[in-house]
């Protein structure tokens, strides 16, 4: 329960930043709407949402260093509670933006954009990658960068580069795959929709398992440190 209280504090800490997330959601929705020119654009919109998730989910680290640290450390809770709470924040935030992606699919479907079944499996895979990116960021912050104000530049890179890379890689791949499907060098992706769905579910399960392991490792490592 105390872990959830820490999650709640993380939402309160980052509330100002989170207020601008709907703007990014609208941008992603516009991107998805243009899927009429190619269904791959839906996945690019999803990867954009994941990119946003990876940036904002590490925001609490900017607020929990320095003088604010005492506030979090003095609560009657263990390091495990605090770390679990932070991971739950990351997971729930990616989950919320995952729901935004689902909403993009839904809204686009309602306005007449065709939603192929395989894109749902691919979307799940993207979400799983998003979770993995966030987990890796958290590992970095907890094991190397938490509270190190002079690491600001590196911290900013860790916050932005992975998500950005995923977004551009998806955009690049999407264009490539679409061209190859059109040229007939790749089979129609709808024929592998079942396989894509299984891959999506499996990758989600693996990402969640990784989250649990990473949270346990972080709690173990930082419990020996001062100010942790």
């Amino acid at each position: 329960m105390r872990a959830l209280y820490y999650t709640k504090i993380d939402y309160m800490l980052t509330r100002k930043q989170l207020r601008i997330v709907p703007i990014f959601f609208l941008l992603a929705l516009l991107m998805g709407k243009s899927a009429s020119v190619g269904e791959m654009t839906l996945l690019v919109a999803c990867s954009y949402v994941i990119f946003i998730a990876s940036i904002f989910s590490s925001a609490p680290f900017s607020y929990s260093g320095g003088r604010n640290r005492g506030f979090l450390l003095m609560f009657p809770a263990t390091v495990k509670d605090r770390v679990t709470g932070r991971f739950l924040f990351g997971l729930s935030f990616v989950g919320l933006l995952g729901l935004c992606s689902a909403a993009i699919f839904g809204i686009c479907g309602m306005i007449g954009v065709e939603i192929p079944l395989w894109t749902i499996g691919a979307g799940l895979c993207e979400l799983a990658i998003g979770i993995v990116l966030v987990v890796l960021q958290y590992l970095f912050f907890y094991l190397f960068g938490e509270g190190k104000d002079n690491w600001q530049y590196l911290n900013n890179l860790v916050r932005t580069v992975p998500g950005m890379t995923m977004f551009f890689a998806t955009s690049y791949l999407a264009g490539d795959v679409q061209d190859e499907v059109a040229a007939g060098t790749l089979p129609d992706l709808e024929t592998v929709a079942g396989m894509m769905m299984r891959a999506g579910v499996l990758s989600m399960a693996a990402a969640l398992l990784l989250t649990v392991i990473a949270a346990a490792v972080c709690a173990k490592v930082i419990s020996r440190r001062d100010y942790a």
Partner: protein, 282 residues
């Protein structure tokens, strides 16, 4: 019955080490933890609260160590630091919400009462609070729930005299029921004169003095006189000799009073004077 037991606490850094700090604080009493800047006061208090981890030694609050039950241990502590630890963007409503979640004994009525009485602004983020308001907010967050030990780290620094007097009164009423205790570090030694029952004096990470305040004051004399008249037997007993154009001032253990003869003036020292002369002698 001891509320706080600190046993052989040590902490090593590259350029500083806290060595073998041991003391006890009975229920219902206030301890002043004093020393110069960098002497290890904050480190000790951080080791007690568990913010920092000791290299050796143990701390028990009401018989419970942090290792036994970290949640219960931390729940017994109320901490007020010299710097406001509430996130600068938080308003009082956010702090209230967090405290309500974490502390089952948190009383919203008490908290709101303090906020009203001290006229703390509800709609301003804490970063816009004055230094005094920040300290009062930390006190409100601590006094609105049940704690056993109040740990204050230079909490009265920067407060105006009226506000400091209010805080001193609050501390006295906090220990009134005989079940709770306070340990506080401060530079303002006049606060100690008023309320401390015990004095722990630390210098360079080591214990210098640890006594009940009244006994400590009784056990020293403040000596003044002409420097030239100090006999060698007295000179080696004087602590922190401060020479000036008019003579010298130092402290002397009371049991060495017979060395003074009639050539010197002496009186009971204040805590301030004992500490200053000890620091001078170090």
């Amino acid at each position: 019955m001891e509320l706080l037991e600190v046993k052989h606490l040590s902490k090593q850094y590259k350029n500083f080490s806290l060595q073998d700090i041991s003391f006890t604080l009975p229920k219902g009493y206030i301890m002043g933890y004093v020393g110069a800047n960098g002497s290890g006061k904050t480190t000790t208090l951080n080791l007690i609260t568990g913010i920092q981890k000791a290299n050796g030694g143990e701390v028990f609050i009401d018989g419970l160590s942090r290792e036994e039950d970290e949640r219960a241990y931390k729940g017994k502590i109320g901490f007020v630091g010299d710097d406001c630890y509430f996130p600068g963007d938080f308003k009082i409503k956010h702090i209230r919400r967090a405290l309500q979640d974490f502390y089952p004994t948190f009383s919203r009525e008490k908290f709101d009462g303090f906020i009203r009485d001290w006229k703390l602004p509800e709609n301003k983020p804490t970063k816009d609070f004055s230094r005094g308001m920040k300290v009062l907010l930390m006190f409100a967050s601590v006094f609105a729930r049940e704690t056993k030990l109040l740990v204050l780290d230079e909490a009265t620094n920067g407060l105006d005299p009226v506000m400091r007097a209010d805080v001193v009164k609050l501390l006295q009423s906090y220990v009134m029921d005989g079940e709770r205790s306070v340990i506080f570090s401060t530079h303002i030694l006049s606060d100690l004169e008023q309320i401390a029952d015990y004095i722990y004096f630390i210098h360079d990470g080591r214990t210098v003095l640890y006594e009940a305040k009244d006994e400590l004051i009784e056990s020293f004399l403040l000596v003044k006189g002409e420097t030239a008249k100090i006999p060698p037997t007295l000179k080696k007993e004087l602590i922190g000799v401060d020479e000036n154009a008019y003579g010298f001032e130092a402290i002397l253990p009371s049991d060495k009073a017979e060395l003074l003869g009639n050539a010197f003036l002496y009186e009971k020292p204040t805590i301030d004077q004992i500490v200053i002369h000890y620091i001078k002698s170090a």
